[in-house]
């Protein structure tokens, strides 16, 4: 049945989409939570099975599907999961159960709408990772944004509505600029002949986009039009100003989706569209973007140093990490790309872990200022162990997962331009400084009054955090399978 009637990418989009719509009709909070969790686990199972069918020569058609949609426009409902797409879908599918588990005990107003929108967002994100047609890509890109807009605006802190609106306007503007780019490339694609003999004047298919006849100059400014959308999503300095506020004000499960997965949409956009479609544009302007990324890293790390707000600190540290990944991708060296792809996965895991911890602290104590906390370890030893491990992973210490990825990226930057490598090194040191000082201040030292009454973490939260820690160590010690998995896709992207 698989491969003939239904394929993995379709399942991965339709299950969350339908489950999400169903959630809107479930009134009872407990039922909707259980339903959403079961749906997300099902998606995880599908995505995990899909990993074993990645080899297209052995299993043709399992991870690929194509129907005509707006045929006369040369658009097709073309989904295909290559190894990078599979890895990121797996990350998305893995994150959702973790997110749902970690906030399972939390009361949620309008739970039906909340979980419905969460799953719709997931459908959009999974679509972005599998779209092999530019118009589909744009559709899913926006489909992920609209529910996220409602999620961020309806649940969260007091300033959430204006803050989210800023986020929306930024991303929407970026997306529209990308749309003009898509239209321009579309108009320069070769004619598309369909299998039944008919043809469309132009085409949105990925292969046609790669074959589009664009001069170096056109590629140059098209590069920026596409980059606008990706830069806002990642975010790259100076397009990041929406991000810390949004992370701070949104409900934590939403923040996890934004920072753990949605950020990867931007990076994925670089890999899937920017590098292959505009090689000359990248050759010409890649360097500028790398400068922006590196400046952003240093800038965000410095701000994270002085943040007193836990959530803001994590938000800025995320900007720094993403900057490194973007820079490494644009080196276009296989080690940099390998490292970036691996790190995209690991960063997703680690930052969700970090958010779970930060959220637990805030929920238990009611405080999110580092200066007002202290001595949590006395009351919550289990939480402290998890924090230390996740913190280490965030600093990219050896035997944690982030070490491998950061090392690969670092080496590619080193051979690209030593200055970038030096600045990256500074950022890694700064990361160690702010993470360790946070752990010292919050978990050790004098116990403050707000901490006195807290309890240790519950079983659900332990399960979620254990899964994360498991991934941290397994991928830290033995990353080889992931590297091999994405090897061929990355070789195709790297400059020869």
């Amino acid at each position: 049945m698989l491969g003939t009637y239904i394929t993995f990418p379709e399942l991965l989009i339709w299950i969350p989409l339908l489950a999400g719509i169903l959630c809107f009709f479930i009134k009872e909070e407990r039922a909707v939570k259980a339903f959403a969790l079961i749906a997300s686990v099902l998606i995880l199972a599908v995505s995990a099975i899909a990993l074993f069918y990645a080899d297209e020569s052995k299993y043709p058609g399992y991870n690929q599907v194509s129907y005509y949609w707006l045929k006369y426009l040369g658009n097709a409902y073309h989904l295909r999961l290559d190894s990078i797409g599979l890895l990121l879908s797996f990350l998305t599918a893995l994150s959702y159960p973790l997110i749902f588990l970690s906030s399972y005990k939390q009361p949620r107003e309008n739970a039906g709408k909340f979980f419905g929108l969460m799953l719709l967002t997931q459908a959009g994100i999974l679509g972005v990772f599998s779209a092999y047609d530019a118009l589909m890509f744009y559709f899913f890109w926006e489909l992920a944004l609209v529910p996220a807009y409602f999620l961020c605006s309806m649940w969260g802190g007091e300033r959430r509505v204006p803050v989210t609106f800023k986020f929306f306007v930024y991303t929407f503007t970026g997306s529209l600029l990308m749309l003009t780019g898509i239209i321009y490339v579309y108009m320069h694609t070769p004619e598309r002949i369909f299998s039944d003999g008919t043809s469309a004047m132009h085409s949105f298919s990925y292969s046609a986009f790669q074959a589009a006849s664009l001069s170096a100059k056109e590629q140059g400014w098209l590069f920026w039009l596409f980059f606008a959308a990706f830069a806002v999503k990642m975010p790259i300095f100076p397009f990041h100003t929406w991000q810390p506020d949004t992370y701070d004000q949104s409900a934590t499960p939403v923040t996890m989706v934004l920072s753990g997965i949605m950020v990867k949409m931007g990076l994925f956009g670089l890999l899937r569209w920017l590098l292959p479609v505009f090689p000359e544009g990248v050759a010409h302007y890649g360097n500028v973007v790398m400068w922006l990324a590196v400046i952003g890293m240093v800038y965000a790390s410095l701000i994270a140093m002085v943040q007193d707000n836990l959530k803001m600190m994590v938000a800025y540290s995320s900007i720094a990490h993403v900057g490194l990944m973007a820079a490494a991708i644009l080196t276009q060296e296989s080690s940099g790309l390998q490292g970036a792809v691996l790190q995209m996965f690991n960063h997703g895991i680690n930052i969700i872990g970090l958010w779970i911890v930060v959220d637990l602290i805030e929920r238990k104590t009611g405080v999110k200022r580092i200066s007002e906390l202290g001595g949590v370890s006395h009351k919550a030893p289990a939480l402290t162990i998890f924090v230390v491990i996740i913190g280490m992973a965030n600093i990219a210490l050896p035997i944690t997962n982030a070490f491998v990825g950061e090392f690969l990226m670092f080496s590619s930057l080193f051979s690209y331009r030593i200055l970038f490598a030096v600045l990256t090194l500074v950022c890694i040191v700064l990361a160690a400084a702010y993470i360790l000082s946070m752990i010292r201040k919050v978990f050790y030292g004098e116990m403050v009054s707000s901490v006195k009454s807290i309890t240790d973490i519950s079983l659900m939260e332990k399960i979620a955090l254990s899964v994360i820690v498991l991934f941290i160590f397994v991928l830290g010690i033995y990353p080889q399978p992931v590297l091999q998995f994405t090897e061929s896709a990355i070789q195709a992207l790297a400059l020869k």
Binding site: E142, F150, M154, F165, V169, L179, T180, M187, L225
Partner: protein, 462 residues
């Protein structure tokens, strides 16, 4: 041809019926019946070329699948307005039959301007279309704002019609064969005679006035704001798209050969319209007035059809007409039922009227141009047609930036609907269950067109 005669006849029938029938609900049902019949006879002509009337038109009227499809959109939209806001038309005043009769006369004018092949018929059509509209605008006789709007509309409208007449005279005098037929103007490609240029500019200004393109838009906000909301709904949808259709038909046929010479002018008009419409809409406090400015902004996008003037633009204009009108009648339809038409009136609608809120939101998302709604594909067609011309790519970038600006004011309504708490129980919103379901039907149509526009555009190619 069917539609022109039938709408006029039905208008007369309703007018006479008004003298004899005393029933208060009869006009609405007769109106609906009439519009269904018009739709059917038009569809018959579209699908099988069947004509009810054979009149010696001297080739002054020309039908093709293109303009018949467009007329189908017009009648469909009018039907939805009757369905959604039929009661509100009755509530305008005492002369219930007359309001519906007038609407049918307007539709007759619309049919004329979408099928004309002769400048005199264009003039006639525009007059038949707008004079009844002046009456409808001021039909709420005791309302001073409506009176002001009607007077303003009438004075400025007659002025622009005067310009049009003068333009027609110039064209008649300057074309080599002294013809009123737009398909037989026989202008050369080279340097144009001064009289032709003046004639064209006069027609450009008067048509721009009719479709409220900046800088000829000054009447729009006051008239839209002052007229009874249901009339505004009609004005912003049917009248507007008919104006554009006539605009495109006139310029494509009469001045198509010298397209390159006036393309830049259209580009400037687009920028001015988008700028004025979007920026001013941001500062409005009343949603009705905001929608008036947003209709100017949307006109900027529709103007791309004239800018590009290729196949994609023609298809795009039909799709845009349908998409924009559906969303527009949805929002104005809701406004017609609200006491408080500021943003505050929408506060907490998501909690008190969930279905209504959902329908309104889909309309607003479509106006913004979010994928999976008709508004997205409509904007896409317009932008793609402009890119296809291969010139002025910057115009497309400017347009999408303004589309992003438009998100600000459309989403402001969505914010009020979902993220603000209601005052009391929103008693100011008086809608019935059936109203909500009709609005949802409109929302479904918007999404259906967003998924497969071929259901509409396919009719152009049968």
């Amino acid at each position: 041809m069917n539609a022109i005669v039938f709408t006029a006849l039905w208008g007369v029938i309703m007018m006479i019926a008004g003298a004899f029938v005393r029933s208060t609900t009869a006009p609405r049902y007769m109106g609906m019946l009439g519009i269904i019949l018009v739709f059917v006879v038009n569809a018959m002509e579209l699908t099988s070329g069947f004509s009810l009337f054979t009149l010696p038109t001297m080739d002054m009227v020309r039908s093709s699948t293109f303009n018949l499809t467009f007329l189908a959109v017009v009648f469909g939209i009018t039907f939805l307005i009757f369905l959604l806001n039929g009661r509100d038309i009755e509530k305008i005043g005492k002369h219930k039959f007359e309001y519906f009769a007038i609407l049918f006369f307007i539709l007759c004018g619309v049919s004329l301007v979408s099928t004309f092949n002769n400048l005199l018929l264009l003039f006639l059509g525009i007059e038949i279309m707008t004079i009844p509209l002046y009456i409808l605008t001021g039909s709420d006789k005791r309302n001073l704002v409506a009176n002001e709007a009607a007077l303003k509309y009438f004075l400025l409208g007659s002025f622009s019609t005067g310009l049009m007449l003068m333009g027609i005279a110039f064209l008649y005098g300057s074309n080599p064969v002294a013809s009123f037929y737009i398909n037989n103007m026989q202008f050369g490609v080279g340097a144009l005679p001064v009289l032709t240029v003046i004639g064209m500019l006069l027609l450009l200004s008067s048509m721009s006035f009719k479709v409220s393109v900046a800088p000829f838009h000054f009447w729009t906000p006051d008239v839209y704001d002052g007229a009874p909301t249901v009339v505004t709904s009609f004005m912003s949808s049917v009248i507007k798209i008919a104006g554009f259709f006539a605009f495109l038909r006139l310029f494509e046929n009469a001045f198509g050969v010298m397209h390159a010479q006036w393309q830049m002018l259209i580009a400037l008009l687009i920028v001015a319209t988008l700028l004025v419409g979007n920026i001013t809409a941001i500062f409005q406090q009343s949603v009705k007035r905001m929608m008036a400015y947003s209709s100017i902004a949307q006109a900027g996008f529709m103007l791309f059809a004239l800018f590009a003037m290729n196949d994609m633009a023609r298809e795009g204009l039909v799709l845009y007409s349908a998409a924009y009108s559906l969303a527009s009648i949805g929002v104005f339809g809701v406004l017609a039922r609200m006491d408080d038409i500021t943003y505050g009136g929408f506060n907490g609608m998501g909690k008190t009227h969930p279905l209504l809120a959902l329908g309104t939101t889909v309309c607003l998302l479509s106006l913004t141009g979010i994928p999976l709604t008709a508004g997205f594909l409509a904007k896409f067609y317009m932008l793609a047609s402009a890119v296809q011309t291969g010139v002025y790519f910057w115009l497309v970038v400017v347009a999408v930036l303004f589309a992003a600006v438009s998100a600000y004011y459309y989403f402001r309504v969505i914010r009020a609907i979902y993220f603000k708490s209601p005052e009391g129980n929103n008693e100011g919103i008086k809608v019935s269950r059936s109203f909500e379901w009709i609005l949802l039907l409109i929302a479904c149509l918007i999404i259906a067109l967003g998924i497969n526009p071929e259901w509409l555009l396919g009719w152009m190619f049968i």
